[in-house]
Amino acid sequence: MANPQHEKWMARAISMAEEALEANEVPVGCVFVRNGTIIAEARNRTNELRNATRHAELEAIDSILSDPLLTPQQIQHPLSETILYVTVEPCIMCASALRQTGIKEVFFGCENERFGGCGSVLGVNQELSHPNHPSYPAVGGYGREAAIMLLRRFYMTENQNAPVPKLKANRVLKTEIPKQADGKSDS
């Protein structure tokens, strides 16, 4: 079930993360895709807006929901036909926001070990039961190294222009989607 589209969408998400880095924001970027088309792309704006909740995902969701062409009527789960590509595993807040808006599926780059809401810290996407909102699969490893390198560059506070060490190319972009249900049960 290899899908060359994943690489393309994730490359776009990474370029949004790069834009965040240039703006001195934590480099996280995302794109939302519906019917094979990007309907929103966004990046982290927490510093610009002085609001620690303005993550890339919420920025993009706001733009989708405010566009009457994309969201013509109020329904409970407006993102049920929409897929998210994001450079870092959504945090617990965003993972819950995505579930409440009914996201179909999430592909992410690297894990978020401190705040990850798709399994790293809390399984908001599936494990957690909810009376109304369907669970959704979230799969990591797409553009993982590029995502990590961007984060490392951000935290390199001493010398912003120092050369970035290259990671060994011992990992290639995963194109195979692991079976979510299997991966869950062993944790």
């Binding site: 510093n47 945090c91 401190r114 705040f115 399994g119 799969v139 944790s187």
Partner: protein, 454 residues
């Protein structure tokens, strides 16, 4: 029954006011402050509010000016909802007696839920959690300094290893900690994260993986146990004693809850879900100087804004952010760590920063700005959902006081305190206090479906 008579009635209304006001119930006064530089001969104006409403019979008699537009798409020049609360609050039971009395736990109008991190299981039987890291052996001690310099420039001084020393010496062998290697999430394979290629001019071993303690040592026995694995920082917990509340502060909380419930009931009448959150101006007394001089209230607007995420917590956080961004007043006092951190946060963990999003850039840190809700108390009618609970954690709220628990959807422990509890998760970098309001009156106006995310 009074609405800003006296000095307040001298101000005219403006949609773009240059004076803001806040109520200080402890001194029964209204504080007026200018919001921008006032030119000579410029008239001072306040925002009266679009609409007044009054509590119905059986409620504390109070009046609140609510701004009509509560959605945050609106231009909001004042940046926050001003509360004009009646300074007569006859039914507040904490108005009688010595305001400086320290109240016993059972006299408080709320019950505190201690947020004990899962991490504390470390203490019990000497076992502790570990993480996988990349390390290298450095046979030639002369290259250690250069290697550390290189690590710094390569951005390897990441916060997740702050609880460990970088260098371990065993006999004559020096080993240096490079980076975390754990990727143990349910989605990824168990193979370690990519290693760090060391420049060839450093004479080191090939990097290899090693298990090290996942968190700082909290006790002396833990220092020994953990450091046997890898030298670990000692970060003893401060005493976990709950903060003392005076009668005057309990009165402040009582008024805050009254105001908030009023706002929620008003939202219900407007066709919204009757859910509201309120961040009042900080309580001020001899030991608290007041981090925040402005009050902010917001209610749930998911219905009228056709946006399922417009929860009251997100709305109030947004209002405070907008106010902070637009306010030219020096509202961003650097926080007093004693006031701003819940007592059960270890000094080590409060320095831990995230890989995502809550970290301001170094420049902002140097400017002395701090997180949005640091040192502030948030009152909310319904237990925040998982999204809102994490939003509060990202914003570093000090504590929240909740009226109605939401066992099916809440993210702060539910009525038993044992449900999903975001600030209790072991990985997160901030803990906030949670207290449940002791319900003391009719709450019919706050009824929502138990399946709703508040």
């Amino acid at each position: 029954m009074a609405l800003a008579l006296g000095l307040g009635s001298l101000f005219n209304h403006s949609d773009n006011p240059n004076v803001q006001f806040s109520i200080d119930t402890s001194t029964e006064s209204i504080r007026y402050t200018t919001t921008r530089r006032i030119e000579a001969d410029e008239e001072l104006c306040i925002f009266y509010g679009h609409k007044l409403w009054f509590h119905l019979a059986g409620q504390p008699s109070s009046a609140v000016a609510l701004r009509e537009k509560d959605g945050y798409e609106n231009d909001d020049s004042l940046g926050g909802l001003d509360i004009l609360q009646d300074i007569y609050c006859g039914s507040n039971p904490f108005k009688d007696g010595d305001p400086s009395d320290i109240l016993q736990e059972n006299e408080l109008p709320f019950e505190r839920i201690r947020v004990i991190p899962e991490d504390d299981s470390d203490d019990i039987d000497g076992a502790f959690r570990t993480i996988l890291t990349w390390v290298v052996d450095v046979p030639d001690p002369r290259s250690i300094t250069d290697l550390l310099k290189w690590m710094k420039s390569a951005g390897l001084e990441t916060p997740e290893l702050q609880h460990l020393k970088r260098i371990r010496r065993v006999d004559s062998l020096t080993t240096i900690l490079l980076a975390t290697a754990s990727t143990s999430t349910p989605h990824s394979s168990s193979s370690p994260a990519p290693s760090i290629p060391i420049p060839a001019n450093f004479l080191t071993s090939e990097p290899y993986t090693l298990e090290v303690p996942a968190s700082a040592a909290l006790t002396i026995p833990q220092v020994k146990a953990k450091s046997a694995m890898w030298p670990t920082i000692y970060a003893p917990k401060r005493k976990g004693e709950p903060e003392k509340w005076t009668r005057a502060k309990a009165a402040w909380a009582w008024d805050a809850v009254s105001t908030m419930i009023g706002a929620a009931e008003e939202a219900g009448k407007l066709g919204e879900l009757p859910i509201a959150s309120y961040v009042p101006a900080s309580f001020v007394d001899s030991s608290n100087h007041g981090e925040m001089t402005q009050s902010f209230v917001a209610y749930d607007t998911r219905r009228t804004s056709a946006h399922p995420l417009r929860h009251s917590v997100m709305n109030v956080v947004r209002k405070i952010a907008d106010w902070r961004a637009s306010s030219s007043t020096p509202s961003l006092r650097s926080p007093d760590p004693e006031l701003s951190d819940p007592t059960w946060v270890t000094s080590a963990s409060s320095q831990i920063v995230s890989i995502e999003n809550t970290l301001p850039p170094p420049a902002a840190q140097r400017n002395g700005s701090h997180y949005l809700l640091t040192s502030l108390t948030l009152f909310t009618t319904h237990e925040p959902c998982v999204m809102c609970s994490m939003a509060l954690l990202h914003s570093r709220v000090k504590e929240i006081i909740v009226v109605v628990p939401m066992d099916k959807t809440g993210g702060c422990g539910g009525s038993s305190g044992k449900g999903t509890c975001v600030p209790r998760l072991k990985a997160v970098n901030h803990r906030f206090g949670i207290a449940g309001w002791k319900i003391d009156r009719e709450m019919d106006g706050l009824t929502i479906d138990e399946d709703v995310d508040a």
